[in-house]
Structures are given as structure tokens and as C-alpha cells.
């Protein structure tokens, strides 16, 4: 009896492994097959010369350069907002908070991480409605709002990784501060943060990856197809993931479709690089304590 069940179980396991590997390989293969010949300077800059595009002397009409700039500025602004707050909150929760505070703040942060990104976008949208009704009658969705909402999405990752990195420090290293007579903050500033810097950096890179890929939030907070370069911080913008989404539904000809595949491939490479990098840093940080 048992061998039959065993054999069945084994077959099903191999099958599921195969199905998943095959579908992911197919996904990558398909994107490469369709997209790799589209990835060229033309994909980014269209007919505009790259020097002109790079310095903004001439607008790019049929390339994805505006989307690249849009995603880049989203990531930069979201990180500028989220990284200081997230790291500070992580330090507080790990080093200062009482058990009660940790439970309350921790569960609220968990809830923040569980909130679907479309709800976060809806929050940004309601914020604009609210502002319109109260103090700014002509508030509009735009780059800064989207960056703020994305910051909310990545905030829990930053808090969790900072907390984990600080708590992963061995007890012996924590005695160092006390033995030197450092105050609590001096101890954190000069021993704990340098020791956990790698873990925190891994969290930051992970957060950047999440910020680059999220589409649902920006859908409601001011992304626009063919918006061109954002002129200021409150302007409409384009973004890589949205560009992929838009072209999947609304491509007009084969050239645009090829551009869609190219964009998808570029986006995949960017996020894979970021996630791989963050995973690598995490491994390095873990190895440091295990080997010591």
C-alpha cells in the first residue's frame, strides 16, 4: 500500500515542480523571444538623439524615456520619504519600544503591509478629493502624491528589515556599548547601526524594487499615458509598469506591441537586478553572524 501512495505523492511533487518551472521559463523565454530585438537605443529615445533627450533639450515622443524618468523620480522621491521614516521607526521598535508599544505599533504596521496597493491608491485619491473640498480647490493627482503613496507601500518592508537586522545582532556586541559607558543613542549610532548596516541596506534595495514595480497605486494617483516628462513635482507622469499595462490593452500597431515587449523586458531586468541584489546583501548579512 505505502509504496503506491509514496509513488503517487512523488509523481505529484515532481509534476508541480515541473509545471511551475515550465511556466516561469516559458514566461521568460517568451518575453526574451518577443522583446530582445526591441531593446535598443531606439526603444528608449525614439527618433530623438540621446544627447538631446538626456538633457531634456528635445521631447521624446515615441520612446520610453519619459516612462523611465517617471519611474526613476517616483523611486527617488518615495525613497526620500520612506527610508528615513522607516529606518527610524525600525530603530525605535527594536531598541526603545516597550512590549506594549511594540505590540500596538507592530500590529498597525502589519496591517499597513497587508493593505492592498489599490486601497493605498484610493487613499491618495480621497486625499486629493479632501483637499479639493477644504483648502486647495484645484488640487490634482501627480508625481508627489504617487511617490507619497508608494512610500506608504514600502514603509512596512523598511521597518521590518531594520527591526530584523537590529535584532539579529548577537548579544555580545550589545554589551560593548554598556562597557564603554556610551549612552543609548551613542551605542545605537556607533555600534548597532554600523553592525546592521548591511541588513538595512538590503531592506532599502528591496523597497526600491517594490516601488519600481507597483502599478495599482499610480493608476489612481496621476499616471497618464503619453504625459511626457513631468514638468514639476505635481505634474502628471509616465511610468514603466503603467506603460506595459497600457500597451497590453491599447497597442495600435505591431511597432507599439514590440515596444510593449521591450518595455516589459526592461522592467523585468530592472526589478530582477534589484531583488537579486537585495537577496545577495541579505545572504551576506546573515553569513556574517553565522560564521562568527
Amino acid at each position: 500500500m505505502k509504496p503506491t501512495v509514496d509513488r503517487f505523492w512523488k509523481t505529484v511533487s515532481w509534476l508541480s515542480g515541473l509545471i511551475v518551472s515550465a511556466s516561469v521559463s516559458f514566461l521568460i523565454g517568451f518575453l526574451l523571444w518577443k522583446g530582445v530585438h526591441a531593446v535598443s537605443p531606439r526603444l528608449f529615445f525614439g527618433d530623438t538623439a540621446w544627447q538631446d533627450a538626456l538633457f531634456g533639450r528635445r521631447p521624446v515622443f515615441d520612446g520610453i524615456w519619459p516612462a523611465v524618468v517617471g519611474t526613476l523620480s517616483l523611486v527617488v522621491f518615495a525613497s526620500l520619504i520612506a527610508v528615513p521614516i522607516g529606518v527610524a521607526a525600525g530603530i525605535y521598535l527594536s531598541e526603545y519600544a516597550t512590549a506594549r508599544q511594540r505590540r500596538w505599533i507592530g500590529s498597525l504596521v502589519d496591517l499597513l503591509s497587508a493593505t492592498p496597493s489599490i486601497v493605498m491608491g484610493l487613499f491618495g485619491f480621497t486625499l486629493i478629493l479632501f483637499l479639493r473640498k477644504t483648502i486647495f480647490p484645484n488640487a490634482q493627482t501627480g508625481l508627489m502624491l504617487a511617490a507619497g503613496c508608494i512610500a506608504l507601500i514600502v514603509l512596512p518592508y523598511l521597518i521590518a528589515t531594520t527591526q530584523a537586522a537590529l535584532q539579529g545582532i548577537p548579544e555580545e556586541s550589545r554589551l560593548l556599548g554598556a562597557s564603554l559607558g556610551l549612552t543609548k543613542w551613542q551605542h545605537i549610532r556607533h555600534t548597532l547601526i554600523p553592525l546592521s548596516a548591511k541588513g538595512i541596506l538590503g531592506g532599502v534595495v528591496l523597497a526600491i524594487g517594490r516601488a519600481a514595480e507597483d502599478t495599482a497605486v499610480i493608476l489612481l494617483t496621476g499616471v497618464m499615458a503619453r504625459a511626457g516628462m513631468p514638468r514639476n513635482l505635481w505634474d502628471k507622469f509616465e511610468a514603466l509598469p503603467f506603460h506595459v499595462y497600457y500597451l497590453a490593452a491599447e497597442h495600435r500597431d505591431a511597432a507599439e506591441l514590440a515596444q510593449g515587449f521591450g518595455t516589459a523586458l526592461v522592467l523585468l531586468m530592472v526589478t530582477t537586478f534589484l531583488f537579486g541584489f537585495s537577496y545577495w546583501i541579505e545572504k551576506q548579512a546573515a553569513r556574517r553572524w553565522n560564521s562568527a
Partner: protein, 301 residues
């Protein structure tokens, strides 16, 4: 002379103490802000849903028909679709998760193949949602249209297949981490009893991880319910209760995105806020159950 030095030292100490206090306050402010954001989201959604309750229009939103031109604003079809889609996606992803985890912890416990499979799962977490949707639109949807020869291919079926691939890596990684710990505890005993790798998995490791199994399912559900892009891109977006796997459907998340992109009717907006509030509350429930399970699991050990 000594008095003077003493007071200078005392001053320096006091300055340090004050500085420490301020730093702690700033850090607390950051932590408090992160927590307050959730409260802000919740109150904002409730505030915009209030007219529904005060003006007795709740019935109009909790109805079965969505047809804004004829003043029907029911979101129940989307709600049912979201639930169905989540359950169907889990029905596919959960057996696959168990299968992959038992490969990782039983059948191929070491070697290149295991490392490759783990690499693949980690790689999958980094693939943007929009890319899953994009490839589905150009591969899965035509395939379904061609194989089953009904409808356009943009259907519940397409969304649920894509979604199951999307939630798989999260589920595998959670269960894998838990199995790692269980394996360290039980592997030797099970081997001493003469269990085969599959038997160990079936009758020792998985029962030992039954709490983790529930956590896995809940996390997968959370991701599936909250996902917008896949259902928006491949489910077809017709606001109806699905009668077959090949019906075009619309989820709550896609509903939010679609309505805000097109309509500007105030009742349509309110249905969106109701959908958002519902999603938020659903996630809170998941989170509460997760917390409960995690805590009782810790005391259990």
C-alpha cells in the same frame, strides 16, 4: 575651581540627556507616524463612505446590478467574483505549494536541482505583477480562446491561472521557512523509524507545520484578494456574477481602478469607497487571524 568644573560637567551631562530625549522623541514620532497612517487610511475611507449610511443608500450599493447609466450601483457581483477568484486561485496554488515544498524537503533534499528550484522561486517573487498580466494577455488568453472555443478568453479561468502563479512564491517561501525548522527537529527521528522521504513529509513534517499551513493559505489569500493588475488585465472586466469559468468577470480591486478611471458620478464614487473599505476590513480580519495563529503557535511550542 572644583565647583566650576563640576557644574560644567553637569551641564554637559544635562545637554547629553536632553539630546537623548529628543532623539528618542523623533524616533517615536517616526514609529507613531507609520502606525497613524493606517488609522488615517481607515478614517478617510469611512469618512467617504459615511453618506451611504446617513442617507440610507447602503441598499443601492449592496445590490446585484451594476449599470451606472440606469442608476444601478450594486457591487455584490464584484464581491462574489473576488471571493471566487481567490478560492479558485488557492485551489491551484496550494497543491502546487505542497508539491514544491515536498520536493524541496523530501525528494530532492540536496544537490543542484534543489538550489535551482529555490532560485526559481526567489526569482518569481521579483517578477512585477504587470508582467504576469502582460504575458497572460498574449499567451494564456489566446490559448484559452483556441482550446475551449468559447468567449474571448478574457475570463475567470485566465485570471485564476495567472493569479495562482503570482501567489505561489509567497506561499512556498513561507512554508519552506517553517519546514526548515520542523525538519531540523524531526528528520533524524523519522529516518530512524525507517520512513521514506515522502512518508516523512506526509505524516511528520506537514502535520508538524499545520499552523504554518494556515498562515500560508491566509497570506496567499491576502495577495490574491489584493491583486489588481492581473484581474484588470485578463479577467475581462464585465460586472456580472460568473456562471462558468469562461465568463468575463470584474473583481473589487479592478472595479476601483476602472470606475475612478472613467466615471465621475458621485454614486459610482461611493460604491468605490465601499469596495475599498470592504477590502481594508477583509485584510484586517486576515491580519487578526494571522496574529492569533502566530501567537498561539508560539505558546504551543
Amino acid at each position: 575651581m572644583t565647583d566650576h568644573r563640576f557644574s560644567a560637567e553637569a551641564q554637559a551631562l544635562r545637554r547629553t540627556a536632553r539630546r537623548e530625549l529628543w532623539i528618542e522623541r523623533i524616533l517615536l514620532a517616526a514609529a507613531g507616524l507609520s502606525a497613524a497612517v493606517v488609522v488615517a487610511i481607515f478614517s478617510m475611507l469611512v469618512w467617504f463612505c459615511l453618506p451611504l449610511f446617513t442617507e440610507h443608500r447602503l441598499g443601492a450599493v449592496l445590490a446585484w446590478r451594476w449599470d451606472p447609466i440606469h442608476q444601478h450601483f450594486g457591487i455584490l457581483p464584484m464581491l462574489i467574483t473576488s471571493c471566487m477568484l481567490t478560492i479558485l486561485a488557492l485551489c491551484i496554488a496550494f497543491p502546487l505549494t505542497i508539491g514544491i515544498c515536498s520536493l524541496l524537503h523530501g525528494t530532492i533534499r540536496n544537490g543542484v536541482l534543489r538550489r535551482m528550484l529555490l532560485f526559481l522561486v526567489h526569482f518569481m517573487t521579483g517578477i512585477p505583477t504587470v508582467i504576469y498580466g502582460f504575458v497572460s494577455v498574449f499567451v494564456l488568453v489566446p490559448l484559452l480562446r483556441w482550446v475551449f472555443e468559447t468567449g474571448t478568453g478574457f475570463s475567470l479561468m485566465a485570471a485564476c491561472l495567472t493569479l495562482s502563479v503570482l501567489i505561489l512564491p509567497t506561499m512556498v517561501l513561507v512554508l519552506h521557512a517553517e519546514l526548515d525548522q520542523a525538519e531540523a527537529r524531526y528528520r533524524l527521528t523519522a529516518e530512524a523509524l525507517g520512513f521514506s522521504a515522502e512518508q516523512t513529509m506526509r505524516s511528520v513534517l506537514l502535520p508538524a507545520c499545520r499552523r504554518a499551513l494556515i498562515v500560508t493559505v491566509l497570506l496567499g489569500m491576502g495577495r490574491a484578494v489584493g491583486d489588481t493588475l492581473v484581474s484588470l488585465m485578463v479577467a475581462g472586466n464585465a460586472a456580472q456574477v460568473p456562471h462558468s469559468l469562461f465568463d468575463s468577470v470584474r473583481t473589487l480591486t479592478a472595479h476601483i481602478a476602472l470606475v475612478l478611471a472613467t466615471d465621475s458620478h458621485s454614486m459610482a464614487y461611493q460604491s468605490v469607497f465601499a469596495a475599498g473599505l470592504f477590502l481594508f476590513l477583509l485584510m484586517s480580519c486576515f491580519q487578526a487571524v494571522l496574529r492569533f495563529w502566530a501567537k498561539s503557535g508560539a505558546s504551543f511550542r
